[in-house]
Symmetry: C2
Subunit: 439 residues, 2 copies
């Protein structure tokens, strides 16, 4: 039986999970591929720690070149993380004609445009199922399963850490800091969890999903991002009273000639299928013009789920090697991109509904003043909650608006500051009104 | 640019949806494939009706052989439905070396074992993404995305018609017959909706999912099936009081050396992700040993979703034709099956929790008699609702049990009939206790 040799760069959590999947399910995978997948080399600076995987010590090396230069290795698997070092290694491996598998979302989102053409020129595969959604085969769904669709909407809960924090805040009413500490203690968050909670990680993943939907890398910096660190249990509770659930969403919408692409806290209807995605789970909701709405749900991180995704890429490539063929599928699965360039509209051009929480002095006429300024900027109110209880000698005025222009909202908020009735910064959370449509 | 010629057998709902996807998204698909997909022939007995697709009349034929015998057609797409005729056409097309795409779940579930080997011998693809879950790319997820996993559990809402009926019964408290009439009026059900509501359609789809998970066709008749026609709004409501939601589920579990495989109404915890799948939506919940739990949700039927799935298979094959290669992926995506044969345990061997609704005479001591007989058969009760209100001079006694043996349950129910305290048939609904585990 034919053998396919794999070399792994990085023996951390994902590297160990990948090795574990390939070893523990060796028989299943051999049956599916029709060839044996052999882990020929694993490079890591630390080759002493026990990863609870039965790897022959001779397979381990501290020298990355032992993997990249090995002429018998068919597939190089990059699981180091970071940007500069893995970029160098991946480009080197591709140029040597090796297929490359990576889980590195930051690298692909920020430098994909430099890497994809090299894979295409070399006629080798560059696969990255593990870069988005952990064990959920969402990359394959976009590249292949939904390939007959124009993708109209992508909405994702793409970061398990921040979803865990928001879930705990909603369920227990605890403040952000407390939920973060809990997540750190349970190993769901790093300390500090910066890239997870500030929207960067979700934006990296959204950039990858967009590039797969339209066939062209996007400019990562054009994706608006806002984190969850200012979310309070109060806003989660007020949202519930309006029938909404607060999630950190990555949203992309096809506007015909340009895209909306943004990551920020969002109020979604409590009966939206995404509202039920809790704890560390991830989910990606897509709307295609033929498939309609669909959702992909599962564990977005962790040793075994991510190992499952990396191994699925290895299996895909190994199936081709077994058959002696090369699909020459470009990394983004478009021989010709749908758009030459994806242009992302600035956040100021967004039109959506809003949730506001104003902290106002407790005097008659305040609501009328606020709504007057909103009205002057074409922002119309759909619901208001005004509660008597004072918080720090001010009262919260909570409202939902109909669809309005973000640029008008920003102007109105500045004017409101000048009014001298607000006692604290206004909380603004964007709302996605639309639930699931039945077509 | 290279052309890939497609011939379609059957120009009904799915045929029209497929043609529509290929035509409306022609540019997107050409960009993704790197070749042009041409609909060269469509065969149907009715070539007069308007399908609202811009097809050149010369493409239409009433003679199936015009498609199968055309040497320029690369891919034959079977969308006729039924068993004998499509089987003949598919086998003929395969033997002529053509790739075949089909949406025919009944044919694959009942006769797959006759068809798959022919595709393998001929080295051509036999693809059937549209056979399960409509627009949801679940076949690809099992064949490829989760290929590194041992599949432990499959639980699916695989029939949109019955899910719509149960959703309406739960939301409106209306009886089965009323919900069926509504589904028929909305075009979600045929009149009568036999195969949808009796579990047969869901069992066909479950058979296909099992065969993909283990690499070998299953004996369709070994899958236990029970429909929803005996479900009452009372049982749905009592279930809710216990914290459960009633769904028609297709369930398969890996017991190590054999499988559980069954389709019947199930009480699932109201916070299970499947409990939120309503209306005509389908969803497939999988547990793999590496990916963990995952869910795939979307529209399981309809012209456009099913067209999306059929077109995705055509695109897959066209990508290979463009590259001048053949993966020789066997239809079930296993070069060697995991099991030689899948053995399905009889329903009598099932161990699960149960929901019972007894209709009993309103006399003291009845509950004690019932629980005594249950206890004698090692069936222990976890919760009881006994309401005073009489229905037809009898009172409902509703209970949940801990895990028990189905064979014991059947024996206990027979003994209870002899007791002479029951006034009507006992309602038995199996319960799935386990929600989503975080690993």
């Amino acid at each position: 039986m034919e053998k396919v040799n794999v070399g792994i760069l990085g023996f951390g959590t994902v590297g160990a999970g990948t090795a574990e999947a390939l070893l523990l399910n060796k028989d299943i995978i051999r049956g599916r591929v029709g060839a044996e997948i052999v882990i020929k080399k694993i490079a890591d600076l630390d080759i002493e720690s026990d990863r609870a995987v039965a790897i022959d010590p001779e397979v381990l090396t501290t020298n990355v070149q032992d993997v990249i230069d090995d002429p018998h290795i068919d597939i190089v698997v990059e699981l180091i993380g970071g940007i500069e070092a893995p970029k160098k290694f991946i480009l080197e491996a591709l140029k040597k004609g090796k297929h490359v598998v990576t889980a590195n979302k930051a690298l692909l989102a920020e430098c994909g445009a430099e890497i994809y053409p090299v894979a295409e020129e070399q006629g080798v595969r560059l696969a990255f199922e593990a870069s988005v959604g952990g064990g959920i085969p969402i990359i394959k769904a976009l590249k292949e399963g939904l390939a007959a669709n124009k993708t109209d909407t992508i909405m994702g809960i793409l970061n398990g850490t921040s979803n865990y924090i928001l879930t705990r805040m909603a369920q227990k009413g605890i403040p952000y800091e407390g939920a973060v500490q809990e997540a750190i203690q349970l190993g769901y968050a790093e300390d500090p969890p910066t890239l997870d909670v500030d929207g960067t990680d979700a934006a990296h993943k959204l950039a990858i999903l967009i590039s797969l939907a339209y066939g062209v890398p996007v400019s990562f910096d054009d994706i608006y991002r806002e984190g969850i660190d200012k979310v309070t249990p109060d806003d989660i509770r007020f949202g519930m009273e309006f029938g909404y659930c607060l999630k950190l969403l990555a949203v992309a919408k096809n506007l015909g000639d340009k895209l909306e692409a943004r990551v920020h806290p969002v109020m979604i209807p409590a009966d939206h299928i995404l509202a039920n995605v809790n704890e560390v789970y991830n989910a990606i909701y897509l709307e295609g013009d033929f498939a309609g709405p669909s959702l992909y749900y599962g564990l977005g991180a962790g040793r075994r789920p991510t190992g499952s995704a990396v191994a699925s890429d290895i299996i895909d490539i190994a199936r081709e090697i077994r058959c002696g063929i090369r699909t020459q599928m470009p990394p983004l699965a478009h021989v010709l991109p749908i758009w030459e360039k994806v242009s992302i509209q600035p956040i100021e051009s967004l039109q959506t509904a809003y949730y506001f929480r104003f902290s106002a002095v407790d005097k008659p006429g305040v609501l009328s003043k606020i709504s007057g300024i909103l009205g002057a900027h074409e922002i119309s109110i759909s619901a208001v909650i005004q509660k008597g209880r004072e918080i720090n000698s001010s009262v919260p005025i909570v409202m939902l608006t109909h669809e309005a222009k973000e640029s008008n909202v920003k102007k109105a908020l500045i004017e409101l500051i000048r009014l001298d009735v607000l006692t604290d910064e206004t909380v603004l959370i964007r709302v996605e009104e639309k639930g699931v449509d039945l077509k």
